[in-house]
């Protein structure tokens, strides 16, 4: 099978207490003090096949989001390497770059390009995006007057119309009302196929069980278990309770 993502011996280090003022940096520099280090990911080896739907679970601070950030290219690994094969779309947060003073219509264009669409793609999908969001009436209202639900609906509607081969989703599905959540999940399921891959970080095990066939359990930056979705989720739940 062809691989969508391959990760080899990947480590990620963060420095704690990076100085933001020159006054704080000076003593560090003069006395050659070292900042405390924190390994967010330790020796990750992973391969995701085309068509695979991988869930990543684990307690807070286990490195789930860091892993997605690395695969998406937002941050780089401290050592090790990874390759991606296909167009990556990353939803690490919904509505990144939305401008509150801009109207819904304007923000569709703005957010669409931020996510990597070109203007023609957005124009082509504009009506579909608006229909999906269900906020046609407020299209020409600045989004600062939107309720948080409307805001998220609009952002998500744009994001979900992206074209991708590998979709990275960080927790963002747990937004909006149940009905809208279902609609989004359905849309993602529809777009998935034998060629497309999904990597989903979530604390919602129902979604993970439903959407994913494989699951990775991360703890303290290490892979604790990797395998079939249901068995790893069950293992995790037992692990947490025990």
């Amino acid at each position: 099978m062809e691989k969508a993502v391959v990760i080899n011996n990947l480590w990620k280090k963060y420095k704690i207490g990076q100085p933001k003022k020159l006054g704080d940096a000076l003593p560090l520099f003069l006395f050659r003090q070292k900042l405390k280090e924190f390994w967010a990911l330790k020796n990750i080896n992973l391969s995701v096949e085309k068509g695979e739907r991988l869930g990543i679970i684990g307690p807070n601070g286990s490195g789930k989001s860091t892993l997605l950030k690395i695969i998406s290219g937002v941050t780089s690994p401290s050592s090790g390497n990874f390759t991606t094969n296909g167009k990556v779309a990353a939803l690490l947060e919904v509505g990144t770059g939305f401008h509150p003073d801009f109207t819904g219509r304007e923000n569709i264009y703005l957010y669409g390009t931020i996510l990597g669409m070109n203007l023609n793609e957005i124009k082509q999908r504009f009506d579909e995006i608006v229909r999906f969001s269900g906020i046609r009436k407020f299209l020409d209202t600045p989004v600062k007057y939107y309720s948080s639900g409307m805001y998220i609906r609009l952002a998500f509607s744009v994001a979900i119309h992206l074209e991708w081969d590998i979709l990275l989703v960080d927790e963002v599905l747990a937004v909006g009302d149940i009905e809208f959540q279902k609609k989004c999940l359905l849309k993602i399921e529809k777009s998935l196929g034998s060629e497309k891959s999904l990597i989903l970080v979530s604390h919602n095990f129902d979604i993970v069980r439903k959407l994913c066939n494989e699951v990775l359990f991360l703890e303290n930056g290490q892979i604790k278990k990797n395998g079939k979705a249901n068995s790893v989720v069950d293992y995790y739940l037992k692990h947490v309770q025990g």
Binding site: Y14, K15, Q18, P19, K20, K21, L22, A25, K69, S72, G73, V74, T75, S76, P77, N81, F82, T83, T84, A90, L92, E93, T96, G97, H99, D101, F102, E106, Y109, L110, T113, I114, L115, G116, M117, N118, L119
Partner: protein, 261 residues
Amino acid sequence: MKMIKTSNIWRFRYLLLLLVWRDVKSRYKQAFFGFAWAMLTPTFQALVFWLVFGILFKIPTGKVPYLPLVFSGFIFWNFFSQSVSSATLSITGNSNLVTKIAFPKEILIFSSILGRIPDLITSLAVLIAILAFYHISLSVHILWVIPILIIEMIMALAIGMFLAAINVYFRDITAVVPILLMAWLFLTPVIYPLESIPTQYQLYAKLNPMTGILEGLRSAVITGTPPERISMLFSISITLIFVIFSYLLFKKLEKGFSDVI
């Protein structure tokens, strides 16, 4: 290791375009006078300096009246200084994009500089009106404005990239930039012509790369002459050295932006 290729900027042209649009539009959406501020700001600046240096302490300005001299100085200087100050804040001010979206971060610098062009064009219209009022006619040499403005933009890019990258690590830069720009304004022939500097200091003034740029722009517009070749070439060389150095530094520091910001 997979990093975004620097040659990939073309792929992000739509993002650049929309960021410029966001920058320009958001700047004027809230203000009551909107785009008029692009004309009012340099007009008020010029009037204040005209009052002080044109009327109270008369600076010798040769054949050129003081008001068009100082107004043209301000619009070309403001383009530079506003580009530099918004570029400096463009990385830290868009931390949500930096930490959530993968794209070459120089796009933010480019967009904050390109976003200043509408202001410049608007204020150029006022300059032409002022020149008409003083019966100063334009010559074909006004076309020099275009290449010199491009050099000015590259200079702003060089300084802006450098300061923006450092600002991610040390926010002290945010406080330093206004002071730096004010000092640079007074050391550049903006509110006075180069000739009014005592001869023994002229050489030092010419070591400032902005001197050649400002003088070149002003001679193209007001006296209708091409730029002085040596100082223009000097400014171009310094600009290119700066921009290469800044770009390399920026790309080196960029890798840490999303972790440190």
